[in-house]
């Protein structure tokens, strides 16, 4: 080994030892193995030697090269470990709060409507809509509620000035005009629900001048009152998530159905528990569509029959979630909304379950 090589070996070893961090070591590596590195230079110079020396010189250089490379690798391992140790010595206060990311919420009314749409969707119903400013034919006349009918007075209708198509303009008092719009827009059969805003001139602890209803209509050639009962029982049990929810049907009267029925569910008056068998709670009105309503819309009642129902959205929402007061639904009090709102990332999807 010539002195040059011995010196190189020593100098390299000293430089490797002296490198105090990975970057410095990298510089050492470059100074030896880089394009202009000393080792690279020596290796390149082998070719200029006499042929007899080349072999031995080459072998020697390679040995030194291996040696130095190994030393660098070892040193690298040490330095890297030291760097990590230094890095992980840092401490954050893990109890500090994260960046704020305010979360929004879905109003309970929207939630209930979405649940109703999901369940009735599974029962083959589609969702229809209609305007809230209606004419008094669709809101009353077509539904067999003539001008003098007591039911027409009971409803405390809001009127708007002027006329539309020669009829008085009203804020719809129920979502039943949706029934009429469906039946006058296409031929039967029908399975539709119509959720939406409704209006009656009534304002106290249990009445709001604006509220929400969902109307349902199923018309076909052989739909019976048995289907009405089955459909509503299926819905109520799914909605309240009570497979054994007691449901009772009582005879009643509505101008737009015959026979007409009020529907009660079992609950406990004291605790508000749904599904208890101690008391009955009226929850919706229903019946077989009145022949006059079908005929008013041009659907021959000798060929077609079916059922309709109407349900208060706020009422079932209050029952399902134990909300006791109606008025805050429309007051947009941040505290109430935060308390009763629903996550937008858990929409009612039947295969995930309807629990909010």
């Amino acid at each position: 080994m010539d002195d040059n090589l011995a010196a190189l070996r020593e100098q390299a070893a000293a430089a490797i030892d002296a490198a105090s961090n990975v970057d410095a070591l990298k510089d050492v590596y470059t100074s030896l193995f880089g394009q202009r590195g000393r080792l690279t230079h020596l290796l390149r110079a082998i070719g200029q030697r006499p042929a007899a020396e080349r072999r031995e010189r080459g072998a020697e250089l390679n040995r030194i090269k291996e040696e130095i490379a190994q030393a660098i690798t070892q040193r690298h391992t040490v330095l890297e470990a030291a760097a990590w140790d230094a890095e992980i010595a840092e401490r954050i206060d893990v109890t500090l709060p994260p960046r704020p990311s305010p979360s929004g919420l879905i109003h309970p009314i929207s939630r209930t409507i979405a649940e109703i749409e999901a369940i009735f969707g599974a029962l083959g119903f589609s969702v229809a809509e209609g305007p809230e400013i209606e004419d008094d034919w669709r809101n009353f006349g077509a539904l067999n509620i003539p001008e003098h009918h007591p039911a027409r007075q009971d409803m405390d209708t809001f009127y708007l000035p002027g006329r539309r198509d020669g009829r008085r303009r009203v804020l719809r008092t129920h979502t039943s005009p949706g029934q009429i719009r469906t039946m006058t827009s296409r031929p039967p059969p029908y399975r539709v629900i119509v959720p939406g805003r409704t209006y009656r001139a009534d304002h106290d602890a249990t009445h709001s001048p604006m509220f929400h209803q969902v109307e349902g209509l199923a018309v076909d050639r052989a739909i019976t009152l048995g289907h009405l009962k089955g459909c509503l029982i299926d819905f109520l049990r799914a909605f309240f998530d009570k497979p054994l929810l007691p449901v009772r049907f009582r005879a009643s009267y509505f101008p737009f159905t015959e026979p007409s029925m009020e529907v009660d569910i079992g609950w406990n008056r004291q605790t508000g528990e749904i599904g208890a068998e101690s008391d009955w709670l009226e929850i919706l009105g229903s019946g077989m569509v009145h022949p006059r309503v079908l005929a008013n819309c041009g659907v021959d009642p000798r060929e077609w029959q079916g059922f309709a129902f109407g349900m208060g959205i706020e009422r079932v929402t209050m029952l399902k979630h134990g909300i006791t007061d109606l008025r805050p639904f429309f007051e947009s009090d941040l505290r109430w909304l935060r308390h009763y709102g629903f996550s937008p990332l858990r929409p009612p999807i039947l295969h995930e379950g309807l629990g909010g």
Partner: protein, 822 residues
């Protein structure tokens, strides 16, 4: 309609307990609103005699009484000032519960004197408000007897909510008939023996308006002694909340409730004879029995004598011709009125009465002669005297009609195959008379009191039906409605709970989506906005016209004629108005930092159906305080971000939008914009709320908002097969540019020009700096943008990169006059 159990039992032979009667009534369509058995809580109280009421030895205000209870003499300490020796009182023994307080009474010693019971006041028994002293009973009250029984308070009272179709159920007999039909007993026969006429009636009827009053009966009775009703009648009326007046009036009230047959008695001496006429009103005013002056018009039917109007027909009688204790002769009225006219008049004049409630629902036409005889008999029994012949005017209208039931329809419509014999039995018990009957069907005569069955068919067909179609629809209803009426009768009596529920047959094995393609994005929008941190509100659709005007419109055509309150009279032009009101309320409660949204109707003149569906969001105040990043006030770009995120989620990319300034008037004119697409499509707007609106509604500052017309958002193409993505193996590279340009040039134009400079190469342009100041010169600004180049086929050479950058600079300069910052 209230009915007491004892009264009900005068028509119904039944021993069913109250609970079962109540349950059955509700099941068959006579919904029970309340059933009160006052007797139950009074059951332990007995009539007692105070043998001695001595001053309490140790208490000035108390008395020590010796009381005979019928089962022994006890000592009672009493604080009532009216307790005195010899009086009859109501005694509560130890162990009984005081109704007013719910406390159980115990024997005790009060200041050293034993008190083994209590003497009760009206209020303690919940029979009235009087608590000044204990109840004092008449001297002949039997000691030891149950107080409730003696006082007639042991009779449970049921209140039924009678539906508008069931005029016949506004009578005790009607309710009894339904109960009997449902198997809860037997309807007792009822008959009114005719009273032979003793003289010719000096008063007669005439009707000049047969459409309003087709038929009326009358009778004069004389030699009467009027006065308080006997206790049995008075108690019967009191039990259902009617105040006894005098025997003659009480008798008419009795029949109103007993048979649902309103009657009226005129004091014959106060009538200017000899004819009472049913006619149109002429604007004359008379004082009605309710103490109010009434002025019937030409559409109101009145009864007039020679002096003028004496009664508002079928609704309320007149005070001047009413009966009092001195009445010795009367003229009895038993009339039939047109239900619609009665309802119209009652509503027009604002008078509710028991008579009106029955006439407007329809009464039993055929009962009129019998009702006259029954009332005559009762008057003669209670008041003595004699009766004239019966006089009449008009003629009874035809009421006989039939209805046919095909038994197969019980299952076919009602879902329950009731055996024919059972169905017929139910109809018979309800008063229907089978006329023809075969294996498949039965035809029944409809009883005269059931005006709701097989009635006249009136349709209100859709506007635009040709006469032939209208006639065909009418024929269909005439053919089928009476049968539906009978199915309903059979089912409600048989019990709707007996109908087996049947799930609807599925239309598809896997159900189709229930939302229409236009409605689904609205749900998506709702979730998107909530996921962005906004809280959903549902606001009233109406607000004060002045508030609506702040948001762009309060047209007369969208103002309610009969608002429930002055501040709820105008349909809102945008849900943003509701949100602003909500923000004001929340700020007033101490919550100024808000992020609210609503998706709902905006009512606009000229819009289809006068309403559009809009999403609106409002942010106010500042972002949350945090150690890690400072709070900052919200600004117009928060609102713009919400709107853009919403539109992007609905398939409208931000690059396709056209933004122009300013927004509409409710926004700050310098800090708001309109969002459009293409030359004409208006999608929404955003910006800071106008300071005038902020001040008017007390909004927290700053307040920013956006509005998006969801019904204007174009439906995205249905996601079908997509082309594979371009996944270049070459790294993108980025270059920054700083442009100086006139302050008035919108930044959007710079971005747009840069983006378009080399479409195949430029993958994105980001504005990262906006700067104005002395360094760039007055009236100038500097924009820093980053451009991302994405090579596709090979790594770019330095020369190619240079060329692309020059293109960017040239394009921006051409579009905006900008130059690269030196």
């Amino acid at each position: 309609m209230k009915v007491s159990l004892a009264w009900l039992r005068t028509h119904l032979e039944t021993w069913e307990p109250l609970a079962r009667i109540v349950e059955t009534l509700s099941a068959i369509g006579l919904e029970v609103e309340s059933a009160t058995d006052r007797g139950a809580e009074l059951a332990s109280f007995r009539i007692a005699e105070v043998l001695e009421a001595a001053p309490h030895p140790n208490a000035e205000r108390l008395r020590a009484c010796r009381v005979e209870t019928g089962t022994g003499i006890v000592s009672v300490v009493c604080g009532a000032p009216n307790a005195r020796t010899g009086m009859k009182a109501v005694f509560a023994p130890p162990g009984s519960v005081i109704p007013a307080t719910g406390l159980v009474l115990k024997s005790s010693h009060i200041r050293g004197v034993e008190s083994a019971g209590m003497l009760l006041s009206e209020r303690e028994m919940r029979l009235g408000d009087d608590h000044a002293g204990i109840v004092e009973l008449p001297a002949d009250a039997p000691v030891g007897e149950s107080y409730a029984r003696w006082a007639g308070l042991d009779d449970p009272v049921i209140e039924v909510a009678v539906t508008p179709n069931r005029g016949d159920a506004l009578s005790v007999r009607g309710i009894a008939r339904d109960l009997a039909a449902a198997g809860l007993g037997r309807l007792k026969p009822w008959a009114a023996p005719p009273v032979p006429p003793a003289f010719a009636s000096p008063l007669a009827w005439a009707t000049t308006w047969p459409e309003a009053c087709p038929f009326v009966l009358g009778r004069t009775l004389r030699g009467l002694r009027n006065g308080p009703s006997p206790r049995r009648l008075a108690e019967r009326l009191e039990a259902i909340g009617l105040r006894p007046i005098n025997a003659l009036v009480d008798i008419t009230n009795f029949f109103t409730f007993d048979l649902g047959r309103p009657l009226h008695v005129f004091d014959a001496s106060k009538i200017s004879g000899p004819v009472l006429t049913m006619r149109r009103g002429r604007g004359e005013t008379f004082r009605a029995l309710n103490g109010r002056d009434v002025t019937p018009g030409a559409e109101d039917c009145v009864i007039a004598d020679a002096s003028g109007v004496v009664s508002l027909a079928g609704i309320v009688g007149g005070e001047p011709t009413g009966c009092d204790d001195r009445t010795a002769a009367i003229f009895l009225e038993c009339a039939l009125f047109d239900p619609v006219r009665i309802a119209d008049t009652g509503r027009r004049l604002g008078i509710l009465s028991d008579a009106r409630a029955r006439f407007e629902r329809g009464i039993d036409v055929a009962l009129m002669p019998d009702a006259v005889e029954a009332a005559t008999g009762m008057i003669l029994e209670l008041c003595g005297g004699e009766a004239s012949e019966v006089v009449s005017a008009g003629a009874p209208p035809a009421w006989r009609r039939t209805a046919t039931l095909r038994f197969s329809r019980l299952a076919g419509l009602g879902g329950l195959a009731v055996p024919p014999a059972e169905a017929i039995g139910i109809l018979e018990r309800l008063g229907f008379t089978p006329e023809r009957h075969d294996a498949a069907s039965v035809t029944v005569a409809v009883p005269p009191w059931r005006n709701d069955i097989a009635g006249r068919v009136s349709l209100d067909v859709a506007p635009g039906f040709l006469p032939a179609k209208a006639a065909r629809m009418r024929d269909a209803v005439v053919a089928i409605e009476p049968e539906a009426d009978l199915v309903e009768e059979v089912l409600r009596i048989r019990g709707l709970d007996c109908v087996p529920p049947v799930s609807l047959p599925p239309l598809l094995a896997v159900p189709a989506p229930s939302l229409a393609s236009a409605a689904a994005p609205i749900e998506h929008a709702r979730r998107l906005l909530a996921a962005r941190g906004l809280i959903e509100c549902v606001g009233f659709s109406f607000l004060a016209a002045g508030q609506a005007a702040l948001f762009g419109g309060a047209p007369e055509s969208l103002r309610l004629e009969n608002p429930i309150a002055a501040d709820l009279d105008q349909m809102r032009p945008t849900p943003l108005a509701s949100l602003a009101l909500a923000a004001g309320r929340n700020a007033a409660r101490g919550f100024p930092d808000l992020a609210l949204f609503e998706i709902g109707p905006a009512f606009l003149e000229g819009a289809p159906d006068e309403q559009r569906i809009m999403a609106a969001g409002l942010r106010s105040g500042a972002t949350p305080r945090s150690w890690i990043e400072p709070a900052r006030p919200c600004d117009a770009f928060d609102a713009k971000a919400d709107a853009f995120a919403l539109l992007a989620a609905l398939g409208v990319p931000a690059e396709s939008l056209r933004i122009t300034a300013p927004g509409p008037a409710c926004f700050h004119p310098g800090r708001s914009g309109l969002i459009g697409q293409g030359p004409t499509l208006r999608l929404g707007r955003f910006g800071e709320i106008h300071p005038r609106v902020v001040a008017a509604l007390g909004l927290p500052r700053p307040a920013v908002a956006f509005e998006v017309f969801l019904d204007a958002v174009p439906e995205p193409r249905r996601p079908g097969r997509r082309n594979p993505p371009e996944l270049s193996p070459f790294q993108p590279l980025s270059r920054d540019f700083a442009f100086v340009l006139d302050e008035s040039v919108p930044a959007g134009r710079v971005l747009c020009a840069a983006r378009g400079a080399e479409r195949n190469l430029i993958a994105g342009v980001t504005l990262f700096d906006v700067f104005a100041g002395p360094a760039v010169g007055a009236g100038k600004k500097s924009l820093g943008i980053e451009v991302i180049f994405q090579p596709r086929e090979r790594t770019l050479t330095d020369a190619e990169i240079e060329a692309a950058c020059r293109k960017v600079v040239a394009a921006v300069a051409k579009a905006t006059g900008a130059r690269l910052r030196g």
